[in-house]
Point group: C2
Chain length 191, copies 2
C-alpha cells in the first residue's frame, strides 16, 4: 500500500480538534481541516463519513470489544456482570493519548448540538449492541435493556472520572457500575 506522508487520519483528527477548539465547530469548514492537515476535502471524506465523525473515530472497535466482553462472561453470570465484562473489555482503548485529548474533545462536543446528537447516537448504539449480545446469551429482553442502559450510564460516568483521575479505565468503570447498581437497587416504587 503506497503512501507518502503517513498518518493522514491522525493528522486530520489533530487538525480538527485544534481548529474546533480555536474557533469553534461551526466556524470551521471541512476544507479548512483538510488544508491544515495538508490534504483536501476529498481526502477528508475518504477517511470520515461526515464532519462530525472526526471526533468519534474508532468506536466501531468499541462495539466489537463490548460484544466480546459480554459473550466472554462466565456461564452463569447475570446480565450486569456480563456488562461489567464489556466495560472492562474496552479498557484497552483508553490510552494516555486519548486521555490527553479527552477534555478538549468533550468541551467541543458539549458546545454543539450536532455533536451532542452524534454522541447520543453512539451511546444508544452501545446500548443496542449490549442488548443484542445479552439476549444472545439468554437474558430476557427487559433485563437486557435495563442492564445495558445502566451500563452505558456507568460508561459515561466512568469516562468522565477516568479523564480526571486516570489509571486503568477497567477499574474505574467497575466502580462506577457498582455505584449505579446500588443506586438502582435502592430506588423505591410507587406502591
Amino acid at each position: 500500500m503506497g503512501r507518502w506522508e503517513p498518518d493522514a487520519r491522525e493528522r486530520l483528527v489533530r487538525a480538527a480538534l485544534d481548529l474546533f477548539s480555536e474557533q469553534g465547530y461551526e466556524n470551521t469548514a471541512v476544507a479548512q481541516i483538510a488544508e491544515r492537515a495538508g490534504l483536501t476535502k476529498s481526502t477528508y471524506f475518504r477517511h470520515f463519513r461526515d464532519k462530525r465523525e472526526v471526533l468519534f473515530g474508532g468506536q466501531d472497535e468499541l462495539v466489537e470489544l463490548l460484544i466480546a466482553g459480554i459473550s466472554g462472561a462466565p456461564e452463569g453470570a447475570g446480565a450486569l456482570v456480563a456488562v461489567e465484562g464489556a466495560l472492562v473489555a474496552i479498557a484497552v482503548t483508553f490510552t494516555e493519548e486519548r486521555r490527553a485529548n479527552g477534555p478538549r474533545r468533550l468541551a467541543v462536543i458539549a458546545g454543539n448540538d450536532e455533536l451532542r446528537e452524534r454522541d447520543a447516537l453512539k451511546m444508544a448504539g452501545f446500548a443496542r449492541t449490549m442488548v443484542e449480545a445479552l439476549e444472545r446469551r439468554g437474558v430476557a429482553e427487559l433485563d437486557a435493556a435495563v442492564a445495558a442502559e445502566l451500563g452505558v450510564l456507568a460508561l459515561r460516568r466512568g469516562y468522565g472520572e477516568w479523564l480526571e483521575v486516570g489509571g486503568d479505565f477497567g477499574e474505574v468503570a467497575r466502580r462506577t457500575l457498582e455505584e449505579v447498581r446500588v443506586a438502582a437497587a435502592a430506588l423505591e416504587g410507587a406502591e
Copy 2:
C-alpha cells in the same frame, strides 16, 4: 396576525410524513415537502430548524410537562415516584392523532441514521431535563441520573406499547416503569 391558508405547520408535517413514507427520507428534498404543502423552502425553515425536526415537533412542550410532573410530585416521594409523575404528566400530549401517525413515524425514523440521531438526542434531552428537575428537589445526582435513565427507558417502551394497544398513555407508562424498576432491582452485582 395575518394568514391566508391556515395550519402551514401541520400541512408541512403531513406532507413530510407522506413523502418520507412514500419515497424515503433521503430521497425527499425539503423543497419538495414545502411544495406539497403549498409553500416554499424558505417558509419551511421558518417553521422547522432543519429537515429532521419536522418529525419531532412539539417536544419542547414535553420538557415543560416533565418538569411540572417531577416538581409536582408529593413532598417525600422518591426519585422514581417523581419520574412516574413526569411520565403521567406528558400523557395529555399522547392524542389519538399522534397514535395514528406513530407507526409510520417510527418506521421512517428507524430507517435513517440522521433521524435516529435526532431521536437519541431528544431522549437524552428528556433524561437531562429530569435529572435537573430531580436535583432541584434534593435528589442526589447519582440517584437522579439512574432514575431519569430508567424513566426514559420506560418512556420508550411505553410509547411502543401505547402505539399498539392505545388507551391512556399514563396507565401504560406507569406499568412499564414498574416493570423496569423491578428488573433493575433484581440485577445482581459482581461480588
